[in-house]
């Protein structure tokens, strides 16, 4: 249980935000941040723990989002059920792309490029297919009832996305302490050595990609319910894939809290940029790029890595009082 105490503390603290600062601006900002934390946690499972760098998380995000929206709009499915089916659809796409790429033995930049290609193909398909509303996009009807997964105020949305982030943190912590997690990290460190010790590396990678896709798809489903509008550039756009990997890399790759820390930093920087520059489009991406370069060059462990380095230094140089 001790392993889960920090997660409980962080989630409890974040749950107080709507009570302390109930303004729409703050809640919008925090919802966007937690959304990226969730989407990034999906990337972190496959990329951070498994060493398989996907550039195409948008494929899962968009599939979750579109499934949720289309099931409601076209088939009259209940929003909550649509949400669950959206997660399942994202996971299914993850399993298919995972099976195709990992069975073909794709690694490193080849794997990254092919995942990017899948996301782009889905984006182009979504921008022409009638079922997704093609170029016009898809609008979920306003229906402000909890049964329809729509709320009068922002606060319930905030608590729901927080619950998802909390669940993803718990899931990653459980994986860290499991055989599956040990196998995943082992194949990241050395795939041949893992094989020689009985790890079916292809299967483990496909399983990780399926879970990763499910987590990221949950973010997409939430996006659809929160904004009630989707088009191909939003759902399958490269912005999702970029933010999904920025957050964990900046926050600390392969750590439980990395994506959440990184999302807070990335989103805060984004807001600050907007304050300084007005709304020059794309400038936030320039800032993200700069931060990414700085992290990779000076703190490859991200913020989480930096924090543990500082803690180790403090322990080394500050003499413990009880010995003095």
């Amino acid at each position: 249980m001790r392993a889960f105490a920090p997660i409980a503390a962080v989630v409890a603290l974040l749950a107080l935000v709507p009570l302390i600062a109930p303004s729409n601006a703050v809640l919008n900002f925090m919802v966007a941040t937690l959304l990226i934390a969730l989407v990034g946690q999906g990337w972190n499972l496959l990329g951070g723990y498994g060493g398989q760098y996907s550039f195409g998380q948008a494929a899962f995000f968009g599939t979750g989002a579109y499934a949720t929206a289309i099931l409601q709009v076209q088939y009259g499915v209940n929003a909550w059920l649509g949400f669950l089916l959206g997660i399942a659809a994202g996971a299914a796409i993850g399993a298919v792309i995972g099976a195709l790429t990992f069975r073909a033995g794709l690694k490193g930049s080849y794997f990254a490029l092919v995942t990017l290609a899948f996301a782009e193909v889905l984006r182009i398909l979504a921008s022409v297919a009638p079922i997704t509303g093609a170029g016009v996009g898809i609008l979920i009807k306003l229906d402000l009832r909890p049964e329809a997964f729509q709320f009068q105020s922002r606060a319930p949305f905030y608590w729901i996305i927080l619950a998802f982030v909390g669940a993803s943190l718990v899931l990653i912590r459980i994986i860290e302490n499991s055989r599956f997690g040990a196998y995943l990290v082992a194949l990241r460190e050395n795939e041949d050595a893992a094989k020689a010790l009985g790890v079916d590396t292809t299967r483990v990678k496909i399983a990780a990609m399926t879970l990763s896709a499910a987590i990221t798809a949950a973010g997409g489903c939430f996006y659809a319910q929160y904004f009630l509008f989707l088009d191909a550039a939003i759902a399958y756009g490269p912005w999702v894939s970029v933010e999904a990997l920025l957050a964990p890399i900046i926050g600390g790759i392969g750590t439980v809290f990395g994506p959440l820390l990184g999302a807070l930093v990335v989103k805060t920087l984004g807001e600050l940029t907007k304050l300084v520059t007005g709304s020059a489009p794309g400038l936030d991406l320039v800032i993200y790029g700069g931060v990414l370069v700085a992290v990779v060059a000076f703190a490859p462990g991200g913020i989480a890595g930096l924090l543990s380095t500082i803690r180790a230094l403090v322990r080394r140089f500050v003499p413990e009082r009880r010995h003095g």
Partner: protein, 250 residues
């Protein structure tokens, strides 16, 4: 005579124009230590990669415990209790020694706590128990060789393929390691070892096969093998054996 646990039958592998292993056959008897020696480039490590499933032979068969396992992938062979070490050590660098060994121990133990506990026991058997919580990248060469051995042992092998676990060690480290290998053998594990450190081969192996240019050119007890003129020529060049004999008599 003991039963053969491993039978390598007329195995060849071709990489483009290069015939790296050329109709090699040998047998490893259950519970014994068999050594595979030969000059650099003879195809020893390639043969190990074939036995452990990393390479598929162009021709020939690998029979293990009476079953033809040719072409089975490495993870399935590990489940059949075949373990290998790598000549160039392949640690999980960012993980601790305990976590490294636990990956192997997980094969028979789904629970994390059980695998970590078993890793501690294995580490004691190879003399790594003092370093359990160090990251693998912080180990010395000798430490990394022990870690290779420990991870392989953690899957509880019946057949253990050791690829130069003594290479790069100084003489005192070799002296420390030889009893560790002997103890593994005495617990009933069948060992096939590729080794250049002849002092260790002489003291450990019961049967030696000599590989040269992809084929087995000689086999026998260690004492007999070192005097075999074909073996001397494989290492020192054509005519070396007769020149040495001439020098000895002259």
């Amino acid at each position: 005579m003991a039963d053969a646990l491993l039978h390598v039958d007329n195995v060849s592998i071709r990489f483009g124009g290069l015939l790296a292993v050329n109709g090699a056959s040998f047998t490893a008897e259950a519970g014994r230590i068999t050594a595979l020696i030969g000059p650099n480039g003879a195809g020893k490590t390639t043969l190990f990669s074939i036995i452990s499933g990393f390479l598929r032979p162009t021709e020939g068969h690998i029979v293990y415990d009476g079953v033809d396992i040719t072409g089975e992938p490495p993870h399935r062979l590990a489940r059949r209790a075949i373990a290998r070490t790598f000549q160039i050590v392949q640690p999980f660098a960012q993980l601790t020694v305990r976590e490294n060994i636990a990956v192997g121990a997980h094969l028979a133990r789904p629970a994390r706590a059980d695998a970590l506990a078993a890793a501690g026991d294995v580490a004691r058997a190879v003399g790594l128990d003092e370093r359990l919580d160090q990251p693998a990248y912080a180990l010395t060469v000798a430490g990394r060789k022990r870690l290779e051995l420990a991870r392989a042992l953690a899957i509880e092998p019946r057949l253990l393929l050791l690829d130069e676990v003594l290479a790069g060690l100084n003489p005192s480290e070799v002296r420390d390691m030889v009893p560790v290998i002997r103890a593994i053998s005495e617990r009933g594990v069948t060992i096939v070892m590729i080794e250049h450190v002849m002092q260790a081969v002489m003291s450990l192996a019961e049967q030696v096969f000599v590989l040269s240019e992809g084929r087995v050119i000689a086999e026998g007890a260690p004492r007999a093998i070192v005097g075999d003129p074909r073996v001397v020529e494989a290492y020192l060049g054509h005519g070396a054996a007769s020149r040495m004999a001439g020098a000895g008599h002259g």
